[in-house]
């Protein structure tokens, strides 16, 4: 379950419940050794490097022998301009329409940019539910793994449209028809702008805004980043960092599929249920009338509600 490709070349880091500093520069020979370590010294957060190193446990970063780094694209609702100011997103609980938007943006990245433009194959792309408010898209492709920050910056600027010479697009728009046809039949950004303008009757400027993705460049450019390890728990939600297949993202429901299966039940008193009427968490359907009621819930569901301030522990 805890396996990742090139497992032995990755650095691991942990945050313990009682300590603020990360314990890092650790490496494991296999997933079983990692599991034993986690059982012996349970941490609150488990991270592994997106980078591969010759000597991942070397404390001096310069001595680790960097081989390359996966490319990571983070899509978190709290970083998306359409969602970040919503009260429920600030609380850390997304409704179905929020998830739908996060998924749409993630799919736009994968299908339009990574596959259609960059030519990556499905097998080189994986998605993880982050355990909280979004998804991590990981690209593990031999051709891309040793790209330096300058090269990654070009990809980031392509995706967020920062290097798009909008003036030049406008100039071309007003050019003679033939020039316009040639320019706008070019695959990539030009064709994308034309398609959106035609389909949605938008201006070129709005089409650029519509098609660009506001990705976090700092994440993509960080060659030594530690991110949550797959199949571990997010301590802020109790949900599992879950791998998802590309075509499985639509049917993935984080509050159902990332909830740990548990036979244990606990008592909680529900609060603020009216804020999330209809939301499904595990086997619980939240409804307004649950506020103030004492429920016996699956332990994992209860943990999520407690951490999000939607319930209080009883006893």
């Amino acid at each position: 379950m805890l396996e990742l490709p090139d497992f032995t070349k990755r650095e691991f880091g942990f945050l313990r419940p009682d300590k603020k500093e990360m314990i890092r520069h650790l490496a494991f020979s296999d997933a079983l050794s990692l599991k034993k370590y986690l059982v012996a010294l349970p941490p609150s957060h488990v991270y592994s490097s997106t980078a591969l190193y010759e000597r991942p446990s070397e404390p001096d970063m310069n001595a680790k022998g960097w081989i390359g780094s996966e490319m990571i694209f983070e899509f978190d609702a709290d970083h998306m301009k359409e969602l970040r100011d919503k009260p429920n997103v600030k609380r850390g609980v997304l409704d179905n329409s929020d998830w739908s938007l996060v998924k749409d943006r993630t799919k736009h990245l994968i299908y339009d940019f990574l596959i259609e433009d960059f030519g990556l194959q499905d097998k080189e792309i994986s998605i993880n539910f982050s355990g909280n408010r979004g998804f991590h898209v990981r690209v593990r492709a031999n051709d891309y793994i040793d790209l330096d920050q300058d090269a990654r910056r070009r990809l980031a600027s392509y995706i967020n449209g920062a290097d798009l010479d909008v003036d030049s697009v406008f100039t071309r728009l007003s050019a003679r028809r033939k020039v316009r046809e040639i320019t706008f039949s070019q695959p990539g950004w030009m064709e994308r702008i034309r398609k959106i303008m035609d389909e949605k009757k938008m201006s070129a400027e709005d089409a650029v805004k519509e098609a660009s993705l506001d990705i976090d460049e700092n994440v993509l450019l960080d060659l030594h980043r530690l991110i949550r390890h797959v199949h571990t728990l997010h301590a802020g939600t109790g949900l599992v960092v879950t791998p998802i297949s590309i075509d499985g993202i639509d049917s993935f429901d984080p509050y159902v599929h990332a909830v740990v299966k548990s036979d244990e039940e606990v008592l909680v008193k529900m609060e603020h249920a009216e804020l999330f009427n209809g939301l499904v968490v595990g086997d619980l359907i939240i409804s307004s009338d649950l506020t103030g009621r004492i429920l016996r819930l699956n332990r994992s569901v209860a943990v999520f509600l407690l951490l999000k301030g939607l319930a209080k522990a009883i006893g």
């Binding site: 433009d117 030519g119 990556l120 600027s157 967020n160 290097d163 010479d165 070019q186 990539g188 460049e217």
Partner: protein, 349 residues
């Protein structure tokens, strides 16, 4: 390896050119008086210090003159001269390519480590090979969104590919000259070679004016680049600006040799201002704490990516670095240019 004479004469850096360089170095250049003279002529002609082009006879001479000219310019230890010569060489290359058939571009590109194909109408290049190219970030026409891209392959018209080759070539020669600087600094040169180099430097400085050392002057806010002016004004209004913009302003002011208290003045109206924390952070950026590492001012391409660049007009369209903008604005002001430092002023007065 025998190269086609005309190709090597025009492109003296092609793969295999170094086989024609037997025994030539900067230290013994005076033993090759014709090469020395032609190299000096080439530098002067390309830097527009003279109108007489060097009269190079053949490929062997062209390779020797090219190599000697790079070494002579490196020896000046003057980065501005090196950049100017790199620019001039790339301009010459672009002109030569424009007179050749596009098919020949592939040979030149390959000598620069560029992998590309040609179908008789347009060039193609794997995206990953494009991403690894150096020196192409300041030309909008060469930026990825402007290029046709499909399934990991970019497509380039002969004109765009020619521009790309010239920019990569400029980066390669400037990098070569800069990396030779330290190695050649202590080379024992004959008086004749030294005199040629000194004469080029003197005429170049006279033409361009003395380079301004921005850190030696009192800061002139009106000549700051638009991004610094904009973010400083936002902070002054009490706006909570992004971390990257704070980093930009702080590193820029530190690069002008401002002391920590002067830098702090720019930040004191920010909503979350805490002098103790801000001072600590600025001292850290200035290399006065911890590892002692002084942080550099981010380049313009980084600022564009981070969304911190606020101006794409005037001088900014040609800039690669905020400090370069500031230096050029000072030079313009000293020459009496009333518009120096006014780019994008109408957008955010």
């Amino acid at each position: 390896m025998v190269m086609a004479s005309e190709a090597l004469k025009k492109y003296p850096f092609l793969i295999g050119a170094d086989t024609y360089l037997v025994g030539l170095s900067l230290s013994n250049l005076d033993e090759f008086p014709r090469i020395l003279e032609l190299a000096e002529n080439k530098i002067r002609f390309l830097l527009r210090l003279s109108k007489l082009p060097p009269n190079i006879n053949d490929k062997k001479e062209s390779v020797a003159v090219f190599t000697a000219s790079l070494a002579m310019v490196s020896f000046t230890n003057n980065r501005r001269l090196i950049r100017s010569y790199g620019y001039a060489l790339s301009r010459e290359l672009e002109e030569n390519l424009a007179m050749d058939s596009p098919k020949s571009y592939l040979t030149v590109a390959s000598s620069l480590g560029m992998k590309a194909g040609y179908d008789g109408q347009r060039f193609d290049m794997a995206l990953v090979d494009y991403l690894k190219l150096k020196g192409i970030d300041n030309d909008p026409a060469l930026m990825l969104p402007q290029l046709p891209l499909k399934r990991g392959t970019i497509y380039l018209s002969p004109n765009v590919f020619r521009l790309m080759i010239s920019r990569v070539f400029r980066w390669v020669v400037v990098d070569k000259m800069e990396s030779q600087m330290a190695e050649l600094r202590h080379a024992a040169l004959s008086d004749r070679v030294k005199a040629a180099i000194n004469s080029i430097m003197a005429d170049f400085s006279k033409k361009k004016g003395l380079e301004v050392d921005v850190s030696s002057l009192s800061p002139v806010e009106s000549l700051f680049p638009p991004c610094i002016k904009f973010w400083a004004a936002e902070m002054n209004k009490g706006v909570n600006i992004p971390h990257q913009a704070r980093f930009l302003v702080a590193t820029f002011l530190i690069a002008l040799d401002m002391d920590v208290d002067e830098v702090l003045n720019y930040f004191k109206h920010t909503p979350d201002y805490d002098e103790r924390i801000a001072r600590y952070q600025i001292e850290d950026l200035a290399g006065e704490r911890g590892s002692g590492k002084k942080y550099s001012v981010p380049r313009c391409d980084t600022l564009r990516t981070l969304g911190v660049c606020v101006c794409r007009e005037g001088l900014c369209t040609h800039m690669s670095h905020p400090l370069l903008y500031y230096r050029i604005s000072i030079e313009k002001k000293l020459k009496g240019d009333k518009n120096a430092g006014t780019d994008c002023a109408k957008s955010f007065p």
